[in-house]
């Protein structure tokens, strides 16, 4: 069991670091939007920090100001790149801190859910590798990641179930039409069949609500996670949510581990 645990921890670490590495490269390529004279330059967001005590505001300016931002991005990129290939080390708190700082720099979040899940996974990995790789800490850290990931599907499912337009398939069509990418040709055909849209919407809702069932059977869990990967790949195709794909993928080994552990 401990071997499996260590193996799952290692996969989680590698995929997480890969996801953060990709995020960091993306940030690097849009850094002209984050530094002077960019829209999100410190000059423009400075007043966001006025409610903080003055000393903390100055500290933020020192760390998140335009000059230090590039350094912050490079450190995060290097740490993540290092973590992809090296066995789990206690670098997670550092990555957690850097990711939180970047979210604060983006006035709370750059990419909402994916930023939140990145922090969840990094917090879980901090627990898992703290103070040394003890099986109990690994189990607790991975369980935290798994519960939050399953909760994310379940809550999203409940939210959609409560909206009549989601149950009728109208909301899905609307989201695809308003996405930042023009609707694909095949979607125009699908949109002509309201019943088909309704079936697709209901399938999505059932899929999301079924997340907790992963804990009942490891076999079901594998099937569910396969469907989950496809679901996120489609979300990337339709809505450009590539960050969600990678960071949610990083939580899958933990879900499988929790499922195995509950059955043992």
């Amino acid at each position: 069991m401990n071997d499996i645990l260590t193996y799952i921890l290692r996969i989680t670490c590698a995929v997480t670091c890969f996801a953060i590495f990709l995020q960091s490269i993306e940030f690097w390529s849009i850094r002209n939007w984050m530094t002077h004279p960019g829209a999100w330059s410190w000059e423009n967001i400075r007043t966001d920090f006025t409610p903080f005590p003055r000393i903390i505001g100055r500290l933020f300016e020192r760390i998140l100001g335009d000059r230090s931002l590039n350094t912050l991005l490079i450190i995060r990129m290097l740490l993540a790149g290092y973590g992809i290939f090296i066995p789990p080390t206690p670098l997670w708190l550092a990555l957690f801190g850097l990711s939180l700082l970047l979210s604060i720099r983006w006035r709370g979040a750059f990419n909402g859910g994916s930023d939140a899940m990145t922090l969840v996974v990094l917090l879980g990995l901090s627990i898992a590798t703290w103070p040394h790789d003890s099986p109990r800490f690994i189990q607790a850290g991975l369980a935290y990641i798994a519960v939050q990931s399953l909760l994310s599907y379940f809550r999203a499912g409940v939210a959609k179930l409560n909206v009549r337009d989601w149950r009728r398939g109208l909301a899905l069509a609307r989201f695809i039409r308003h996405a930042q990418y023009s609707p694909p040709k095949h979607f125009t055909c699908i949109a002509r069949h309201p019943l088909l849209l309704r079936y697709i919407s209901i399938t999505i809702i059932i899929f999301e609500l079924a997340a907790p069932l992963c804990l009942l059977s490891p076999s079901f869990c594998i099937v569910y996670l396969g469907a989950g990967a496809l679901f996120h790949a489609l979300n990337t195709y339709y809505f450009g949510l590539n960050r969600f794909f990678w960071i949610w993928l990083a939580t899958y080994p933990s879900i499988y581990q929790l499922s195995l552990w509950l059955q043992s």
Binding site: A39, A116, R155, A159
Partner: protein, 163 residues
């Protein structure tokens, strides 16, 4: 005992996520809202906030143009999609401005221009249009599209972008 500990830990973390995410009013906590995710993706489907801008070059005024512009799909965006993610951040900024409009519908013309979201959104458009190098002036408007397809203007700026 250990299993019980893990269960309690998981339940508490889930409860914290559920309780804290619903309403975070404090401005300081807003900066840390990422620690309390709501996980309610695509849960609000009643209406969409859209942004359109119009440019003026000398006396020539353009049509209203939708912003951010639509992007092209490619396989590579699974690995690398900075412009797509930036567009999502801009959309989130647009929604923050719209939320301010809903909170203060009567005093919107006094309150919104003093918010940071407004200032940043204006800078985003300036950067997009690269107005610092050209003599292009612009204005923008926020539109609300309801689930029935009706479009309603909720805010409009004037041709005074460089102030």
């Amino acid at each position: 005992m250990y299993a019980l500990g893990i269960c309690v830990f998981c339940i508490i973390s889930a409860r914290i996520a559920l309780n804290f995410s619903d309403e975070i009013s404090s401005q300081v906590l807003q900066r840390f809202r990422i620690l309390f995710p709501s996980w309610r993706f695509f849960g609000e489907a009643d209406s969409f906030t859209l942004l359109e801008y119009q440019t003026r070059d000398s006396d020539l005024v353009s049509q209203w143009i939708s912003f951010p512009p639509q992007e092209k799909r490619s396989i590579s965006m699974l690995l690398f999609n900075p412009s797509g993610n930036l567009a999502l951040a801009i959309q989130s900024l647009i929604e923050q401005c719209a939320a301010t409009c809903y909170q203060n519908p009567r005093t919107i013309h006094d309150t919104l221009p003093h918010t940071n979201s407004y200032k940043i959104l204006n800078s985003v458009l300036q950067q997009h249009l690269n107005t610092s190098q050209q003599s292009i002036d612009f204005r923008w408007r926020l539109l609300l599209q309801t689930s029935y397809g009706d479009v309603q203007e909720i805010y409009q700026t004037s041709f005074d972008s460089r102030s």
